[in-house]
């Protein structure tokens, strides 16, 4: 019950006119960014973050969270109308969304996506509200050893569950961690890794510089290479009659929605998983439990509902470890975490104690953001149809200009702008060679946490390494981390044994 009163106090913050306005602007902007092919929540947050200096820190976070939500809703729009996923999280939505649009049922598909997103978002925010406090209270017991073990666990999930090549994943994690050590040594204060003696490196490499480079410039270069033909927009009109018919159809998909929401939430909490696998898994479950699995891929509305509930639920799920443990569950939440640190808020259990107003204001604003997103989404469908006709080159120009100027703004150094360009080109090449970029960004954000907790734990244990395995919680995390790390190897051994027996 304590949770309810805290949530009530939170609504007192989030229902302030300023914050309602911020949620509406954030959601609308997010919807547009999400609807643009190629741009998803992570690109939106990276590009827009430097612009949020205009509002106070608490409102800036609410704004970014609203943008994140809006982008998750918006991803479905280009999946349905263009057949090109707005971002990887909306890939599964194209499977049935596109056929529906081609059959002239684009309106129904868009309504289904919006309503499913709302259901997924709302169920997951309720789960979030329930789990946030207990998790934060557990995390209050963590010392440096546990924090180190937890970060290690987060990274090993990428190796074990990320699905990318293990060597490449490890290389990217290490690259991000090494880049995070540039600047001054955390403990002794001595300068280190000052490349070419450039003074710009003394302040370290900001997560924002890497994120704008990789998700802004790198993304545009990726799009430039791919956009040989301009896609065609399927027309869509949404009328009241269609809306009513849509709700009638959707009321029969409650089971799919429920499964997608709960599963999406828990998958989203894992750093390596998140919205993309959650939506694919939900699609798979919906198809295999359906009475007519053959109709999937040919325009079954459940094929839109399942991934859209799951990806929205997952995006809320990935906020949970970020806020209550200080360990982000996705690249987008890693950027939110970086933003909070930049504004002087340290995510983690202490935030629930010291900044309870802020935490509950943010959580309650997730409820308002969800409501705003579904309403604005449905109301603006004609505008999205029009906006998607915008030539790629116009979008690319605006994104590039925002990257350059927005990258300069936070610290006002040209050094950062050059680094953004370098990271953009390198990120583009790495992505082409199938290196996963999410662990790179996460590692840069978590690097300082990892190194500080490792060295603090050792200092307080007087150099005794066994401190990581003699404390029960830390030992559990390390054990799980080892398991995840060995997973690719184990599964290969497993497959080989199974294979030889079959032969």
């Amino acid at each position: 019950m304590e949770v309810l009163s805290l949530l009530g106090q939170g609504f007192a913050t989030s229902l302030l006119p300023l914050n309602i306005g911020i949620v509406i602007v954030g959601v609308t902007l997010g919807l547009f960014i999400g609807a643009m092919p190629g741009l998803g929540s992570v690109n939106g947050v990276a590009i827009v973050l430097p612009l949020t200096f205009i509002v106070p820190p608490a409102s800036a976070i609410i704004f970014l969270a609203a943008l994140y939500y809006g982008a998750m809703y918006g991803g479905a729009i280009s999946s349905i109308l263009l057949g090109i996923p707005g971002s990887s999280t909306a890939v599964a939505t194209t499977f049935d969304g596109r056929p529906m649009a081609q059959q002239g049922r684009a309106g129904l598909a868009l309504i289904a996506a919006a309503v499913a997103s709302f259901v997924g978002g709302t169920i997951s925010v309720v789960l979030f509200t329930v789990f946030a406090m207990p998790l934060a209270e557990l995390a209050l017991k963590f010392g440096p050893a546990e924090n180190f073990a937890l970060v290690l666990l987060a990274f090993t999930t990428f190796v074990g569950l990320g699905g990318d090549d293990a060597f490449k994943t490890v290389a990217m994690i290490c690259l991000g961690l090494v880049l995070s050590t540039v600047g001054l040594d955390l403990i002794s204060g001595q300068p280190r890794l000052i490349f070419f003696d450039m003074p710009g490196f003394y302040a370290g490499i900001s997560f924002l510089v890497l994120a704008i480079g990789v998700y802004g410039i790198g993304e545009v270069l990726w799009t430039v290479e791919r956009s040989k033909v301009e896609p065609t927009v399927t027309p869509a009109k949404v009328t009241w009659a269609e809306m009513r018919a849509g709700f009638a159809v959707l009321s029969r998909t409650w089971k799919t929605m429920g499964v997608g929401s709960v599963m999406g939430f828990f998958v989203g909490m894992l750093p390596a998983a998140g919205a993309t696998p959650a939506s694919l898994m939900a699609y798979g479950i919906a198809k295999s439990t359906s009475r007519e699995p053959d109709s999937f891929g040919k325009g079954n509305v459940e094929g839109v509902v399942a991934p859209e509930t799951a990806n929205n639920a997952a995006s809320t799920g990935s906020l949970l470890p970020m806020l209550s443990l200080g360990i982000p569950g996705s690249p987008t939440t890693a950027l939110l975490l970086g933003g909070m640190v930049m504004w002087g808020l340290t995510p983690g259990p202490m935030l629930f104690v010291e900044q309870a107003d802020f935490v509950w204001g943010l959580i309650s604003s997730l409820y308002t953001a969800n409501l705003a997103a579904v309403l604005i989404n449905l109301a603006l469908i004609p505008v999205f149809v029009w906006a998607l006709r915008m030539p790629f080159t116009v979008l690319c120009t605006l994104v590039l200009v925002l990257c350059i100027v927005g990258g300069f703004a936070p610290d006002q150094r040209m050094h950062d702008v050059w680094l953004i360009l370098a990271f953009g080109v390198v990120g583009y090449l790495l992505r082409k060679a199938d290196y996963p970029l999410a662990p790179l960004v996460l590692a840069l954000v978590l690097g300082p946490v990892m190194e500080r907790s490792f060295r603090q734990a050792l200092i307080s244990a007087q150099g005794d390494v066994t401190t990581f395995v003699t404390r029960p919680l830390s030992a559990t995390f390390i054990g799980l981390a080892l398991l995840f790390f060995m997973l690719p190897l184990l599964s290969r051994l497993w497959a080989r044994r199974g294979g030889s027996r079959a032969a």
């Binding site: 205009i54 090494v178 270069l221 116009v394 605006l398 350059i404 040209m414």
Partner: protein, 168 residues
């Protein structure tokens, strides 16, 4: 064998290997050894992580080369004909960023947009002109007037004095 090493994937792995050696060389400037009571020194974390990165990227290289020798992958790394536009955009960005400190943001950014929209993107003048003219104005009011962040102006700085006088 040489052909397999010169493949783009191998070159990227080689680049990462080189980068990790460079990082290690930098990291040893600070103590990397274990101080009995206080744990590792300031250089240890970057040094050993770079070492792991070196090992991992070596793994990628070895596997790429072996796979290539066994069964060459005929697909090109870059989509044919599309590497040109990517290089063009990268070059244009480099020139724009260099120009920002010389002739200022408010000359470099419109020039970049003009090139991108009109000559690279082949948009009509009706689309190009409003964007090229409007964007710098929005940038000025957002960053300089609202956020008090001065964007680089280079030699065009004196032209802004009257504007500063009005808004600050």
């Amino acid at each position: 064998m040489l052909k397999a090493v010169l493949k783009a994937e191998s070159l990227i792995a080689l680049g990462l290997m080189g980068l990790s050696v460079y990082f290690m060389w930098h990291a040893v400037e600070l103590p990397t050894t274990w101080d009995g009571r206080r744990g590792p020194g300031g250089g240890a974390f970057p040094f050993w992580l770079s070492a792991i990165m070196l090992a991992a990227s070596t793994g990628v290289l070895v596997r790429t080369v072996l796979a290539e020798v066994r069964l060459p992958d005929p697909r090109p790394f870059f989509e044919p004909g599309m590497i040109g536009p990517v290089v063009a955009v990268t070059l244009a960005l480099t020139i724009t960023i260099a120009l920002m400190s010389v002739v200022g943001t408010y000359v470099a950014v419109p020039l970049f947009m003009l090139w991108y929209l009109r000559f690279f993107g082949r948009n009509s003048w009706r689309v190009t002109v409003p964007l090229v003219v409007g964007t710098p104005i929005v940038l000025f009011f957002f960053f300089e007037v609202a956020l008090l962040i001065l964007l680089p102006k280079g030699i065009t700085e004196p032209l802004f004095f009257p504007l500063y006088a009005i808004f600050f």
